[in-house]
Symmetry: D2
């Protein structure tokens, strides 16, 4: 069971020469741990994985595990829409010291059916030395893993959880129909509070790059029995979350982090960094004078 | 401010001869108050209002107020897609003793824009002796009242709240941007818990006809600081709520109530009462041996 | 069988005092016949029927039949979401001399299922002295009549056709699975050409108020074997059609007609007439200097 | 300008040992040319490209060009959601003798905005020795290339067309606003007829694997001025097209081809070949006794 309620799907910082910036990664990681993250997804969508080469990913995961050094759980992204490739890459990543789980996305673009998804995840799980977390995000993949498919896959000993990006009714169904040690996370920041309340493990967050402390406070208020304060924080966070996805992710998060001195660099194509006009609009939507001062 | 967290959008019981059954209405009303309802919407969609004549509605509202007799707040449905007609009917209903508010739906079918909605609600509010509650339900009306339109209308002294049937982000926005005494209810049972947590007044419920006690317990658990129990109850309720809308409402609720001895009769066309096969499927979805035993 | 390919869903002109303007109606009707309309829907959505009283509708239909005087088929709108009321009103309208068919909309707002729709239309058909045309428009009613329900109802001797506002695949299915004398019309101007090509009877049009001649030419080009010219005209019409629905219908059509001297007056609430800014935007979208010059 | 109205997005045949079966490819290619295909997309989605390695794709494209040997235009799939990778792979493929165009999909999964799409396609076009065809398929990519973005990219000398999978209004807009030599194809078989009529170049088809002759006849009937026959054929084809996509593509097409002796083999994971039950359902939906006899 994953003993962590807030995990950050961490961005990949790039240097001016376009390579991964490990110094920036370390600084950011420490900041995220300080502001309440209990774990990470490295090499997720937010990490611009589609644009990382095989070798970059292996180095990124290896060095990230060294940076975190036991201070949080690590889930590494290994999925693609090619079962053969995913199986091999997951097996390889699962050997990296410090990687606790592999995040395997539902195959995007080629749109398998439920039977194909089961075959895909079963094949990948078989060769992996760490348990898998399913990543179910229809808005990106064009296809939905059905609730009962998640439930069926949850019985596989090497499938340990799901990062779910559909609606709350689905989320509740999965919590209800899987064992208590199956880790059900929402991948939607907007559901962070509700997901926790109905029995999910917590949230795999993008907004925590900027609003980690507020999400931390929200959860802690809830634990302390103060649902009103938790609700107030959720209501505060919602428009900020929306704003952080108003341009292709992770460009808004990177823009804020750059403005606040984290030197995470540009995005890789086909994602562009925000231009000045977009930065101004984003700041305004975040209720801040400028991105440097965007905070809780 | 409406001091009530659970309101039931009560069905209209019919006798075998097709007329309104006031004895059944009284029995059901008492039951609902006993199981936690603090108020009512009478003559809403669940009350099959499209099939009630003008005179039936006036009698229904008048006698229902006598039945409730101060034991809960009463909101009476008065809206249509004809501004002239709505204005006159709302004014008439607002004179009925015991009617506290008028529920005015966003005009359905003819699809006004935001400007038209503002004109509609402003005209109706002007002639009503009781404050209005806006009913925003795009799934039925084909058109959405925008958040900022709700906010603008909330400034009208004679518009006291909204029954909102869109997503949680909209709900949170409206709570955030309206005064504390503006009554923001969700009309979606599936949002009952979340709506309360983020600062809504509560829920206008259909499921409370059958699961009133569980919704009561859910809210009371939350108030007592036990969010886990509240979450467990929400997760219990969600599939039941879904089942109660698997056939055109209110036929499933009426089927359960009939099975449990409340003699609420059939639906009026174009809504049909459930047939035996549908009743069996509904019972199964409610996790019950039969509809008579469907309970929390 | 309806021997007409272009029918106009005609607006209801109002005088400054708010009553129906029959002089304007006559002038407009003549214009529409001159520009290619072979029939009419009177008292449809475009006719603002939700805002007409019972007596207004009876007078409107009676006098409109006298105006048309055999120069085109007449379909009169009689539907609502109350089966009892629809049955009686359809029966009454069906006695008006010159009314050839009754347009009965799928019940909106209360969302019956397929079984309820069949019961509704069967009940209405039984009491009507003229055959019914089903009006299937999910975007307004919130519910879709399934293809197989249309097919089943097409076997009722007193149901003569359908005005279909879903996608082309549905349209083709219905044409394929109903008898040749069942009249399948599209109610979407954007489908006017395709619907004709795959075997539909034609279009029940709103755009024909302004672009009747172009729609006439489009159909006639097709009949003459010149598909390229028909296609060019469809491509010309598409953005105009979109523009005519950019504000709540029929306000854009009425704005154009007023600008062109047809004196059709304002809309009734909750539909507002266009303001000056909206008129300017509409003209621009119609590719015209101003609304008076908007033409093919 | 591409002088071809029907292009087949050809499947990739696999041998029992899992390698590409070039004999089957040749046999199938000849069959497709015989039944009316005037060109091909090789290595599209239908070709299961996500599961082909770099080397397999290079060999596939090289040998396919030799098989076709000038008997039709060839468009080779080269796109991904990584701009760097797409640029290099497109440049490489563009050097293969006989490849006329490169099909570059809008980046899937990471969801660039319009600005990012323009940067992506501009970068790829710059390095390619053959012109690009944009592939706009929101149902798979999760993101829509806006009409005006297509129009803007059409001005790039090395971007020659678009395979469009959105609605007919978009299609018409693009035809209207691009130069006559810009090749606008529909990628939706269901739009094959309408796309041609409104001025598109034609269809990039999957159904042509099975119903090539019928699509050929449909277009030829249209050219001959017989729109009714063309419409009848479209109506005949529509349910077949739907059936061919009822399971993940290309498994239905491969099942039919295998049944008809083309030995195209299984699909690669995550797409599964049809099981017996699925084959029976598919045959029934194609209106055939079994898949071997599924025909026009």
């Amino acid at each position: 069971m994953i003993n962590a309620d807030i995990l950050t799907a961490i961005i990949t910082p790039f240097s001016d020469d376009g390579t991964i910036n490990f110094d920036a990664l370390e600084k950011l990681t420490n900041h995220l741990i300080d502001t309440g993250s209990k774990g990470f997804v490295i090499g997720g969508t937010t990490g611009e994985t589609p644009t990382l080469s095989h070798d970059e990913k292996i180095e990124l995961y290896t060095r990230f595990a060294q940076i975190v050094d036991g201070r949080g759980v690590i889930i590494a992204g290994t999925g693609s829409n090619n079962t053969f490739e995913t199986t091999h890459f997951t097996a390889e990543v699962s050997q990296i010291p410090g990687i606790d789980y592999a995040l395997v996305v539902v195959p995007y673009y080629n749109k398998p059916d439920q039977r194909g998804m089961i075959a895909h995840f079963t094949a990948v799980a078989e060769q992996s030395s760490v348990p898998l977390i399913i990543y179910n995000i229809p808005g990106r993949t064009g296809v939905t893993m059905a609730n009962d498919t998640v439930v069926e896959l949850s019985k596989n000993e090497n499938i340990a959880g799901v990062k779910q990006c559909t609606d709350m009714a689905d989320f509740e169904y999965i919590v209800e129909h899987t064992d208590d040690d199956f880790n059900v996370f929402t991948g939607e920041d907007a559901q962070a509070l509700f997901a926790k309340i109905v029995g999910g493990r917590g949230v795999i967050s993008v907004a925590s790059h900027v609003y980690g402390q507020e999400i931390r406070d929200m959860y802690d208020s809830l634990y302390a029995g103060n649902y009103q304060k938790a609700g107030d924080l959720m209501r505060f966070l919602s428009p900020k979350i929306k704003a952080l996805f108003m341009y292709p992710s992770p460009s808004p998060v990177k823009a804020v982090l750059n403005a606040q001195g984290y030197e995470v660099g540009d995005c890789r194509l086909p994602i562009l960094s925000l231009n000045d006009e977009e930065k101004a609009i984003l700041a305004q939507r975040l209720g801040a004078r400028d991105l440097a001062s965007a905070k809780g």
